[in-house]
């Protein structure tokens, strides 16, 4: 019995090929959109994480406990030599770099601006940040000049200075709070997509920063890059306990940028909401198609009822038709979704310079195709199509044969 109903359904959906093609295309586009949105979201997440971690943050950071809240220059990392030696032996750590961080003032002949002064060790810093790549004028700490300073293009504009101009940086020394001033020469100007980095940061050699703050060889931050970014979310890794000792704390990027973690979590809900909206549209399309087909063949349904098909049998015919329509639509949608996403995964989508959820994109977004997109979403489409078929199926089940066959008996 099932077989004849399946045959009936399958052949019926091809009775009006044009209508079936249009309906299947509409449903298929819904599936395509879902596949693409999912792939895009994964690509966007990857890009956002990469942008957030690779620009400057790193996958994890070590600080003296409380430093992030206090921003006190004297709160340097405890037992730095031991920590550094240990990090050098860590199999999960690919690169790390020392940094000195302090708030200060930068003054040019024309203007003055508040900045976050960062003392960096250029040979290792290049593995942890993209400052060197972002330099558009001058150079990123070439040679040995300790008075080199690299600033953002926006800050240069505020200070009305150019490459080679002199500026004075003022900071408060650790412990005493005495003001310390040094003159620097602009050796490089970088341009980041992130406006905050462009206008509010300045980089000097770490030794000069340590000297200004009178903190000896101590540092405030160690930025770490793991061999795999997955380690940054692996809370079972002994790494986190090992380096959260001696008054220090180690935090992964997910904790350092907790707002980004929350935002990324929210993107999942965004995906579900978009899915529900898409399916909402698709469902009404399916119901409309099934009803058009149903009204066209109402007389046949009357005949099927008259010759003894039970109401549930009638409903099954419509549900099988909905299923057959879903199968055709899934085929179309999966092919279309694969082609569209694969092409864009290859060429990328240019989001550079666009700020999304607090992160300014530095690179193209490349949608990521995953096998589960071609399993889970088609199953969803199939289930939703069947659910959409329930209403017309119920309608057909309740058809009164004599009303359906009004033209004859």
């Amino acid at each position: 019995m099932w077989l004849i109903l399946v045959k009936l359904a399958w052949r019926n959906i091809f009775r009006n090929k044009r209508r079936t093609f249009i309906a299947a295309t509409a449903i298929g586009i819904g599936l395509t959109a879902l596949i693409f949105i999912d792939a895009f979201m994964i690509g966007m997440e990857d890009t956002m994480i990469r942008t957030a971690t690779a620009s400057f943050l790193g996958d994890a950071q070590i600080h003296r406990e409380g430093f992030r809240d206090e921003q006190e220059a004297s709160m340097t990392i405890q037992a730095l030599d031991d920590v550094t030696a240990s990090l050098a032996e860590e199999a999960s750590v690919q690169h790390f770099t020392h940094r000195v961080l302090v708030s200060g003032m930068i003054t040019s002949p024309a203007n003055v601006s508040a900045i976050n002064l960062v003392g960096v060790h250029p040979p290792t810093e290049k593995f942890l940040s993209l400052i060197d790549d972002a330099v558009t004028e001058g150079a990123y700490f070439e040679g040995e000049n300790s008075r080199d300073i690299v600033i953002g293009a926006k800050l240069a504009e505020i200070l009305e200075i150019e490459l080679g101009d002199r500026v004075v940086v003022t900071v408060a020394q650790a412990g005493t709070g005495e003001l310390s001033q040094e003159m620097f020469r602009i050796s490089g100007i970088y341009h980041f997509a992130d406006e905050a980095m462009n206008s509010g940061m300045a980089f000097v050699r770490i030794q000069k920063a340590q000297e200004m703050l009178a903190i000896g060889n101590n540092v405030h931050e160690i930025a770490i890059k793991f061999t795999s970014i997955a380690y940054s979310q692996d809370t079972t890794l002994p790494f986190w306990d090992t380096y959260s000792q001696l008054g220090n704390e180690v935090l992964s990027w997910t904790e350092l940028m907790s707002q980004l973690t929350v935002v990324l979590e929210m993107t999942k809900y965004t995906k579900y909401i978009m899915g529900v909206i898409l399916f909402g549209v698709v469902i009404f399309g399916i119901i409309n198609t099934l009803f058009m087909s149903l009204y066209e063949r109402m007389f046949e349904f009357g005949v099927l009822r008259a010759v003894g098909t039970r109401p549930f049998g009638m409903a099954r015919v419509i549900l099988f038709e909905a299923g057959a329509l879903a199968i055709v639509s899934i085929g179309l949608g999966a092919i279309l979704g694969f082609v569209l996403t694969a092409v864009l995964a290859h060429v990328g989508i240019d989001y550079t310079g666009i700020e999304m959820m607090g992160v300014t994109m530095q690179e193209f977004i490349y949608p990521v195709l995953e096998i589960q997109q071609f399993i889970i979403y088609p199953i969803w489409v199939f289930i939703f199509t069947i659910i959409a078929g329930l209403y017309p199926a119920r309608y057909v089940a309740k058809v009164v044969p004599v009303d359906a066959m009004r033209r004859s008996f």
């Binding site: 019995m1 004849i4 009775r15 099927l304 010759v307 003894g308 009164v400 004599v402 004859s408 008996f409």
Partner: protein, 233 residues
């Protein structure tokens, strides 16, 4: 009425049907009392609007009377549930429609075997009975064709085969010859007459066709929803 007699295949008692058209009640049937015995070859005649179609709808369980009762093969139709009525029609009534009403996406064989599928007849037996039935209606070799590949006369023969293949007690035919030329109509009528004689199935026609009226054993004339005359020939 307590019990129908064994040979009374259809019994109606005071069957009345009132439709409402634009808020105005229209009496389609006015208290029809009728008994049809098994094996009869009966024609229901009368002008358009006389109630033939409504009467066929009601005695087949496709519609329910406003008042009165219908016994079909000993069962009261109004006392059956939706599923019981479906099963009852499947097992006891064969329909032949004016416009053939074959399912266009099914082959001739699938159209004919559909009712047997509903009844759970095994595949081999279905196939055998379909082929035998096609031979009876003179359509050997067309089992794999679709209805659109057949002429009107051939389609009506398939419809007859579909109606008879499950060997129901009653065949209800609504203007079965109306869409056919006179030669094809005469051939089909002859065939149905022959099957009636051979199988003992009860045939009830609604018709305007004088040829059907001539061949009928019993002629019931309806007028304004009432039996105007009922003559055995």
């Amino acid at each position: 009425m307590e019990q129908t007699q064994q040979t009374d295949v259809i019994v109606t008692e005071g069957v009345t049907k009132v439709y409402t058209a634009d808020g105005i009640p229209v009496n389609a049937l006015n208290g029809i009392d009728l008994t049809i015995q098994s094996g009869e070859f009966t024609a229901l005649v009368g002008p358009s609007g006389s109630g033939k179609t409504t009467f066929l709808n009601i005695i087949s369980g496709l519609d329910s009377p406003t008042e009165g009762k219908v016994w079909l093969a000993g069962k009261v139709l109004s006392e059956m549930s939706g599923n019981e009525l479906s099963d009852f029609r499947r097992d006891n009534i064969g329909f032949i429609f004016q416009a053939y009403n074959l399912i266009p996406v099914l082959t001739v064989e699938e159209n004919i075997e559909y009712i047997m599928l509903l009844a759970g007849v095994p595949k081999a037996e279905r196939h055998e009975r379909v082929l035998a039935m096609l031979e009876v209606v003179g359509l050997k070799g067309v089992a794999d064709r679709t209805p659109t590949q057949l002429s009107g006369g051939q389609q009506q023969r398939v419809a007859i085969a579909r109606a008879m293949v499950s060997e129901p007690a009653i065949i209800l035919a609504d203007e079965p010859t109306a869409n056919l030329d006179s030669k094809t109509g005469a051939d089909l009528l002859e065939m149905m007459r022959h099957l009636n004689a051979e199988t003992g199935m009860t045939f009830i026609f609604s018709t305007h066709d004088p040829m059907v009226m001539e061949n009928a054993q019993r002629l019931i004339t309806l007028r304004d929803g009432r039996i105007d005359s009922d003559e055995a020939k």
